[in-house]
């Protein structure tokens, strides 16, 4: 079975006779497993895992525009930052937590809309460069607008949940939802439209796909999901400062997605686990840790262009062949 078939000829059938949602059940189970892991492990490992899950949310958001649509957005770190700063500031100004969340996500969505409109005509590396510098401008504002953001000192974040246990449930749940969202979108109109843009944007337009609107929708959705991750990291760390959202964070998120497997539902989880988890868990000195990370980026991108997910595909395909034999 190919995924292509799913948004192709079977699309119309699916509406009549929906398939059992095994994928969603699987992701839900995975989320449950991660929750158990989160509460069972000691606080250090738990914090690493929580960070991985929050990154999974941010990179899942990125997966929509970059994985499905093929647009190398390097500004996801800025949306992540706006989610964090937006919610923290809104709470500081007296908003209740839920309202602060919505406002932060809306703010990121609006910025996403503006950035999406501004770069609507650029493609490929120009899009990458444009979004990278947008991220740079956002991070410069976060560190230099002292009166708003308190500069490099950062600001403390009011805790919006009843207890840390609640947050420990919300984080894996949100991560699982973000994976489900990508799974959902990829089989819906927006998803296959993005996939036609990934393949050949001009041709997509010529078969009637409204490419500009599709990209914009995808980009705004990516931004909003990124902001949700930002809200959660602010809640989890209890403090935020601009270097958490430096311009290269957007870049590293793109790398995480590429390493995990762009366009694949589980790609963000694997990529985030790898990029965030490896340096912390191996407890390497920063020089050697980053050197190793660099080597692995390069090797993974060169040797397995589709990221870890495609490597897993290859292994599973080989396994199923040998079973049949």
């Amino acid at each position: 079975m190919t995924e292509i078939g799913m948004y192709g000829q079977q699309e119309t059938r699916q509406r009549v006779r929906p398939r059992p949602a095994w994928d969603y059940l699987g992701i839900a189970l995975l989320g449950f497993g991660l929750w158990v892991l989160l509460v069972e492990s000691n606080s250090f490992y738990s914090s690493v895992l929580a960070t991985i899950l929050i990154w999974t949310i941010a990179t899942s958001g990125l997966n929509i525009i970059a994985g499905l649509g093929g647009y190398p957005s390097l500004v996801q770190g800025a949306f992540y930052g706006i989610g964090a700063y937006g919610s923290a500031l809104a709470m500081k100004w007296g908003q209740p937590f839920w309202a602060a969340c919505i406002e932060a996500v809306l703010a990121a969505g609006i910025l996403g809309l503006i950035v999406g409109l501004v770069f609507s005509r650029t493609r490929g590396q120009y899009f990458a460069i444009g979004t990278m510098f947008t991220g740079l401008v956002v991070s410069l504002v976060l560190s230099n607008w002292q009166s708003l953001t308190n500069g490099l000192l950062g600001i403390n974040v009011e805790f919006g949940f009843g207890s840390i246990n609640q947050l420990n449930v919300v984080i894996p749940a949100a991560a699982a939802f973000s994976l489900m969202l990508v799974r959902f979108v990829s089989r819906r109109r927006l998803g296959w439209r993005l996939l036609t843009i990934l393949e050949d944007e001009d041709l997509a337009e010529h078969i009637g796909v409204p490419t500009a609107r599709t990209k914009l929708t995808g980009f705004v959705l990516s931004a909003c999901v990124g902001a949700v991750a930002g809200v959660l990291i602010a809640q989890y760390n209890g403090t935020i400062s601009p270097d958490l959202f430096d311009y290269y964070v957007g870049f590293v998120m793109f790398v995480a997605l590429s390493v995990g497997g762009a366009g694949r539902v589980l790609g963000p989880l694997l990529g985030s686990a790898f990029i965030v988890g490896t340096p912390d868990l191996l407890n390497l000195s920063s020089g050697i840790g980053l050197l190793l990370a660099g080597i692995i980026f390069v090797v993974v991108i060169i040797v397995i262009p589709g990221g870890f997910m495609s490597a897993i595909d290859a292994v599973m395909a080989a396994a199923s062949r040998s079973v049949r034999r």
């Binding site: 947008t134 401008v137 020089g287 980053l290 050197l291 060169i302």
Partner: protein, 288 residues
């Protein structure tokens, strides 16, 4: 005041131009945004420092050794990594970032994270231009850039290899059909770009300090220059480098020093929106 700002701008602009031509050269032939250039500069600077201080070579010999190291490291990045992603433009930035991490952290592990100083014999001298003062290291930077750009221009215009590189830069497929050996041009371009990185290390190292991330921040400015000049356009990069240097220098004096870098970034973003192909090119093949 005005003259001093102009002089500062030319010094800064020379730095951007020198850095940007190296970036744009490799972009031209291979379409990789070579962020690893910053790492090449770092390693080259440390090589100069090591030769000068530990191996006790005279400064000029050390500088020459550092240039060679720059060239070799740059070629290595192409041989080990970039050549595998030539046909995958979206993988190139990721590989470039990975290489930058590798090079910077190699420096960190070998030499530590401290700021150290590369001291040429003229480090303390000052030159007076009318009412303005220019540090000798700034004059050296302007001189290095001028000589390097001239040499690069002559090389690209007058030599067979140079013309081949320009041909590849304009259209790699056509160049290959005409019998130009692409592999060779890639290696030569990366070697030259590494030498240019070495020159940045030589000229910029004495101004601030040598440390593993010494070139990361200015690389972003140089990238602005590369995009403004038109990706792959050497002359455009040189001119835009100077323009950006002057813009930032005057902007710092007359508008706001704190947002100095922002001027360049703002111009870049405007540029991408209004004229996506760059200032000095009519090529539009990379955009809608």
């Amino acid at each position: 005041m005005l003259i001093q700002a102009a002089v500062n701008g030319v010094v800064l602009g020379s730095l951007f131009a020198l850095l940007a031509v190296g970036l744009t050269l490799t972009y031209g032939v291979m379409e990789v945004p070579n962020f690893a250039q910053a790492g090449v500069i770092t390693l080259s600077a440390y090589a100069m420092l090591w030769l000068n201080q530990t191996a006790a070579c005279p400064f000029w010999i050390a500088a020459l050794g550092g240039l060679v190291v720059g060239g070799v490291v740059s070629v290595l990045t192409e041989r080990i990594a970039y050549r595998f992603v030539r046909t995958r433009p979206l993988a190139a930035p990721v590989v470039a970032l990975g290489l930058l991490l590798i090079l910077d952290n190699t420096a960190l592990i070998l030499f530590g994270g401290d700021h150290v100083s590369l001291s040429p014999p003229y480090a303390g001298d000052v030159i007076y231009v009318g009412s303005a003062t220019v540090p000798a290291v700034g004059v050296a930077l302007i001189g290095t850039t001028a000589v390097a750009l001239l040499a690069l221009w002559l090389f690209l215009q007058r030599t067979k290899t140079g013309r081949a590189i320009r041909a590849v830069s304009q259209n790699a497929e056509a160049a290959a059909i005409l019998g130009i050996r692409l592999e060779r041009q890639y290696i030569v371009s990366f070697f030259i770009s590494g030498i240019l990185a070495g020159l940045v290390a030589f000229a910029y190292g004495p101004m601030y300090a040598v440390y593993p991330y010494m070139a990361d921040a200015i690389l972003l400015n140089a990238f602005v220059v590369v995009v403004l000049g038109g990706l792959g356009n050497v002359a455009g990069a040189a001119v835009c480098g100077l323009l950006l240097g002057l813009l930032e220098s005057f902007g710092a004096i007359y508008v706001s020093a704190a947002y100095q870098n922002l001027f360049g970034f703002a111009v870049l973003l405007l540029m991408i929106v209004l004229r996506p192909a760059g200032l000095f090119t009519n090529r539009s093949r990379r955009v809608a």
